[in-house]
Symmetry: C2
Subunit: 160 residues, 2 copies
DNA sequence: GTTAAACCTTCCAATAATTGGAAGGTCAAG
DNA sequence: CTTGACCTTCCAATTATTGGAAGGTTTAAC
């Protein structure tokens, strides 16, 4: 199986498979005489594992740990659970952060008539000299450009 | 006011103020004889606007538009409302994506005893050859590294 | 037997927003 | 005049992913 087939079989782009190899997430693939990478069933299994873990929102760093645990037959389930739990906590924090932003924004939108006239409570609030309560810079630099970039790539988890 | 004071007054790091200038989000600051950037009240007002818009989750690209609208006395509130509404929609989508991930993960965690023994439903599910229902790679590469470093964010998942 | 398509390879760049650091100039107080 | 706290520019790293260029390989068709 060459990289294109592995890509199709795992759902991970060839680019990313090479990248995962480069950063040491997966071992170096064996090569054909002419240098083509070559994958077998077990490799695909690993790639599928990675893909699902990514879909579950784990970072590459976390997946690295999960892979080690996965390959260690004697690992205590406790360690995996801890990793997953701390990840879940982060997820929940992020969710509530986004929710509070969404609520604020939703309120502002609700107060804006949104017609042809120029007065707009949204801009007013953003530019209000004393509006700092509204947008509590949650102590930390925020980050969360919702971009959803080209909306294209994105992945998923289908929860039944 | 030099850049350090502007930074303190606006809550935006000096680094970012320079960056915003470099990418054209804000106009080039006037300079002192020796090259120091120099800011006045109106500049601070703009920086505060930007900081609040960031806190509201708007991307730089969106903020660029908001600034133009803000500075246009005759803009129709409709345009602002549209921008905000589409942003809110993205926020809500992201939130529900994260929620579905969190739910799946939470279930897995709930089934894991997390003791010293090695059997772990979390890893089992991630590595299950037929687990694709749980973590459906809905055709697109995923993205969503939870780091949450200092409250970062970025993630996605599409649940359908 | 050559050619063209469809692969593969590596390397370099860009994305988004932010931070870090190095190397060096400036300003105020001591 | 020195020290420390500023400021300047430039370059790099972060995270995960994509894009493209330049070039080699394989396969199938002609």
């Amino acid at each position: 199986m060459n990289i294109g087939q592995a890509s199709r079989a795992s759902g991970i782009s060839a680019k990313m498979i090479r990248y995962y190899e480069a950063i040491g997430l997966i071992p170096k693939a064996t090569r054909s005489y002419s240098g083509y990478r070559h994958y077998d069933e077990r490799d695909i299994h690993v790639l599928l594992f990675i893909n699902r873990a990514r879909a579950a929102g784990f970072s590459i760093a976390h997946i690295k740990k999960l892979l080690l645990l996965w390959q260690d037959r004697r690992r205590p389930a406790r360690e995996v659970k801890q990793l997953a739990t701390s990840h879940l906590k982060e997820l929940r924090e992020k969710i509530s952060e986004l929710q509070s932003i969404a609520e604020t924004l939703s309120q502002l939108i609700g107060h804006c008539r949104g017609d042809d006239r120029p007065d707009c409570p949204i801009l007013d609030t953003l530019s209000d000299k004393d509006a700092t309560q509204e947008f509590a810079e949650t102590s930390k630099p925020n980050r969360l450009h919702s971009s959803v970039r080209q909306s294209s790539s994105k992945q998923c988890v289908k929860t039944k």
